[in-house]
Amino acid sequence: MIGRYIKSIIYSFVLFLIFYPCLCFAKDIELTGKGATFPLPFYLKAFGHYQKHYKTKINYVGVGSGEGLKALSSKTIDFAGTDFIRVDGFPENINELIYIPTCIGAVVVIYNLTDNPNVKFTPEIISDIFLGKITRWDDPKLRCINKDIKLPELPITVVRRLDRSGTTYVFSEFLSRHSEMWRKNVGIKNILTGLPGLEAKGNPGVAGLVKQKSGSIGYVELVYALANRLPTGHIMNRSGRFIEPSVVSIKKAVEGYTQEKELTTLIEAINPDGYPISCFTFIAVLREQSYYGRDLQRAVELVKMLKWLIGDGQQYGEALHYVSLPSNIQETARKSLEQITYKGNPLLLHIK
């Protein structure tokens, strides 16, 4: 008698073990991602809509590109948001990571001056300001190109990113291209150290600090400037024109962009009306998804979400002053998605 009970218990336990994964399969999946604050508003909006439609919850925390990639390389998250591809400090991951462009934004120079004047900047002047060579708003160099406005007699307080950041990377890449001084002293870096000024975490941090401090200057994604009603600097492009950052000028910049062998972050405007510091932002995932005990469904859900993001998800960017990926880049992104595998099998095939 007792033996039969025990037997039935054992059977039922075995059955439970067999069917448990199936039960789990049916459960809602929650994807986690960390990284860049550059596309944070876009992602938050897009993922919100995605959750509404597909019931898959996606947690994205804006901690900075560097921190995101670090978390991904330690395989504790599903994806990382980043604004740079070439990673300093993660050489072993170069071939393991796949970068998918998600949208286009612009790094803008914001400042806190009364009456929000539109100040013009050349790359050299920006370089001088961030290197501490120009310390006052009424510096002759600045006044020379801003004859139409009255610059206040204020010291300049530089605000930079404290964390390893894609925004910084793009900003420094742009300055390196146009300023000899910057190239020699700083180069292309995702973190700026040993320079004068204040530091803040993430794009919101920089925007907040600039908003707070009179006479300060910083660099953020366009939408942060607009949302916080901060003035943006007009920056001289290759054609020598001072361009105000906006969706239009970014689009102009993207129009002239031709993809090289590999995707670069910074998009340098060829169009004379293009804003010079436009850039892609990416989501990085691991090429092989069967890591850290992840199941197939999670991997499939991730790819599914990414496919949606580069396709239908693009519409949510425009409202936040981001620019959608042009079709050729969307194609490139799709090709990148094809490379994601689970135990060697490409995952995109599983998705209708």
Binding site: L40, P41, A200, P204, G208, K211, Q212, V223, A319
Partner: protein, 676 residues
């Protein structure tokens, strides 16, 4: 403890000033550093406070933005507006978090941390509320969203604002407390430094005093010593502690003083010996003349006695009294001669011990019963060359002296020993010579000799006794000197005196001649062998002169008046070498006789004898070099000397041959026939 006097003055001053400067520098540097530190601390406090307040304001500001953004969302129906307000919310949240984390870094106080903790929890809570409200709003459940906003979001925001105000207020309070603490500490350290400065000041003064004293003290000593030296006081006591410059100066001064002292002593000794020498010569001269006079007195007294044999007894008695007095005077003169070392020594090898023992028997009888004589003689004493008689005189005089110094009785101790004397004062110590000596010491327990008169007791006629002659110790001195020795005196007033007589061991006795030589020279009292004519009417004088000249080796021929004299002269005119001529004579006076002699011989020396009236002589030694006038009464000694002088000068005039041995000028064979 280190004796700083061992360091040179330069080093001392250097080290002293170095330490001083170092101390001052130390205090100044410490004070400056402390001030810097305090200022830094104060400014840190102020800065921290300012920063904290600024961050609290940022939080307040961020909350304000959040509230505004949420308000906007609730009022708006546009999704684009919502998106932008969302970003504002994000920014505000970032500001909030940033400020909170910064303030957390700065906060160290428990109360502050509590507030920060509350703010942190509220931050998370408010984020959740914002998410809830926005979701409700997006889902178009506007009423619910508004309700949520009013009932939980607004109170939370108000709570945060209140907390921020609290934080600011608390910060102000805490920082003022900290500021006062820091100020208190600053004042305290200021006080400490004041004390330190005072200490270093005292230390500096102390150092300065020590240094000054260490230099000044020996210099003062040196000045004192120099003053003493300049006043002629060579007894300098100096406290030489270190070998620094003043120390060396003192050392040099001490050496100088010692050298001066020695030189002075030597000078004194030299002076003493010279004084004694002079006194001796003086005494000797006087004694000699005195002796001559005595001999005339004695001679004449004897003549009177001879002539008076026919007279009465009275004259005889008086003559005897004169003779006695002359004998006493003669003894006195003898003693003087001994002092002046004119007494010839009769040296023989003798043992002093023996001499003392022999004399001792005699002494015991001579000296009173209340005086004891102790002998302590060195049996190994070598023999020395001494004049035993003289030596006995020395011993006797010393013992008499000792006895006289002990009127109440006492002990006289006599001892002998051998001693090696080293005289190291070079040429200055004229009266002492290094070498082996035998020492005779006579010690008494008498009244002693005052230090002031110690160097005078050997002078002749110096006496402290009422009826002393003052010659006893002079005689001792003379004899010892003649023996080539010296005397050392140790005496203390009231305790007695010791006389050490040093007699040299070797046969090195100054001016001493051997016994034989002495005897020989005594026998040979010959002054000349010339022929002398004496023309004198006074028979007594004529005989006296004649006797004297005969004993001195001269040949004499006499004449009792002028005519007779001319007669004798003419008979022997070529043989007579000198004429002694009385001035006043019967029949033919001296002037006539002299003229007669000069007629026959120009070169013959003539001695005019005259009484009280030399003006009666018509001739003068100024006109005639070969004549002199001698006034009567004259000593025979002087006459003899004059005769010799006259003869010698006449020989020198004639350039006669000189006999090397006798130093007497010879004038051919002495053929002298008396044709009186």
């Amino acid at each position: 403890m280190i004796n700083i006097r061992n360091l040179s003055v330069g080093t001392r001053l250097g080290v002293g000033f170095g330490v001083l400067v170092a101390t001052i520098l130390f205090v100044v540097v410490m004070a400056l550093m402390n001030m810097q530190f305090s200022i830094k601390r104060l400014s840190n406090i102020i800065e921290n406070n300012n920063r904290k307040v600024a961050y609290a304001n940022t939080i307040d500001h961020a909350v304000h933005i959040m509230n505004d953004a949420v308000n906007n969302i609730l009022q708006s129906r546009s999704s684009q507006q919502w998106d932008l307000e969302n970003i504002r919310l994000l920014t505000a949240q970032a500001m909030y978090d940033n400020a909170l984390s910064e303030i957390e870094k700065l906060e160290q106080n428990e109360k502050g941390e509590k507030i920060i903790y509350s703010l942190k929890t509220l931050s998370a809570y408010i984020k959740q509320q914002i998410t809830d409200i926005t979701i409700l709003h997006f889902e178009k459940r506007y009423a619910l969203a508004l309700k949520e906003y009013q009932h939980s979001y607004r109170p939370s925001i108000k709570h945060i604002q209140q907390l921020c105000q609290e934080l600011v207020a608390y910060q102000d309070e805490a920082s003022s407390v900290e500021y006062f603490n820091a100020l208190k500490k600053y004042k305290m350290t200021l006080y400490v430094f004041c004390v330190l400065a005072l200490c270093s000041f005292i230390f500096s003064i102390f150092t300065a005093i020590i240094l000054t004293r260490s230099i000044k003290k020996p210099l003062e000593q040196a000045v004192d010593a120099a003053k003493k030296l300049s006043e002629g006081d060579y007894h300098i006591t100096m406290d030489i502690k270190g070998n620094d410059e003043p120390g060396r100066l003192l050392m040099a001064m001490k050496e100088l003083a010692e050298k001066l002292k020695k030189a002075k002593e030597t000078e004194q000794q030299l002076y003493e010996s010279q004084k004694m020498e002079t006194l001796g010569r003086l005494a000797g001269g006087i004694a000699h003349d005195f002796n001559n006079m005595l001999s005339i007195i004695l001679g004449n007294t004897q003549l009177i006695k001879m002539n008076a044999s026919s007279f009465d007894e009275k004259t005889h008695k008086r003559c005897n009294a004169i003779e006695n007095a002359v004998a006493r005077a003669s003894g006195f003169v003898k003693q003087l001669l001994v002092f002046s070392k004119k007494q010839p020594l009769v040296l023989e090898k003798a043992n002093i011990n023996k001499a003392i023992t022999e004399l001792y028997k005699l002494l015991q009888k001579m000296i009173g019963e209340d005086i004891e004589i102790k002998l302590n003689l060195d049996p190994m004493l070598p023999e020395v060359n001494i004049d035993v008689t003289q030596f006995n005189q020395v011993l006797l005089n010393l013992i008499v002296n000792a006895r006289e110094s002990m009127p109440e009785g006492g002990t006289i101790t006599i001892w002998t020993h051998k001693e090696e004397v080293v005289v190291n004062n070079g040429n200055l110590g004229a009266n002492r010579i290094s070498g082996k000596y035998i020492v005779l010491s006579v010690k008494d327990t008498g009244i002693g000799i005052d230090r002031a008169i110690q160097d005078k007791i050997f002078e002749p006629f110096f006496t402290t006794k009422q009826n002393g002659t003052g010659l006893g110790l002079s005689v001792v001195y003379g004899i010892v000197k003649q023996h080539g020795g010296f005397i050392k005196l140790e005496s203390e007033k009231g305790k007695g005196s010791v006389f050490h007589i040093y007699i040299p061991c070797v046969d090195r006795i100054i001016e001493a001649k051997s016994k034989e030589e002495q005897q020989e020279s005594q026998g040979k009292n010959v002054l000349g062998t010339e022929n002398i004519l004496i023309i004198e009417d006074d028979e007594e004088i004529r005989n006296l002169i004649r006797e004297m000249l005969s004993t001195q080796g001269y040949n004499t021929i006499v004449a009792n008046d002028g005519l007779r004299g001319i007669e004798v002269f003419l008979k022997n005119k070529d043989d007579i070498d000198l004429v002694i001529l009385d001035c006043i004579m019967p029949k033919m006076n001296g002037n006539k006789v002299f003229a007669e002699i000069r007629m026959h011989r120009q070169d013959i020396p003539v001695i005019f004898l005259t009484g009280n009236n030399p003006e009666k002589i018509r001739y003068s030694p100024d006109d005639d070099k070969n004549m002199i006038i001698v006034q009567k009464p004259c000593s025979l000694e002087m006459l003899s000397t004059k005769i010799r002088e006259m003869l010698d000068s006449s020989y020198a005039f004639k350039k006669g041959p000189l006999d090397e041995n006798t130093k007497i000028y010879k004038k051919g064979p002495s053929v002298f026939n008396l044709r009186a």
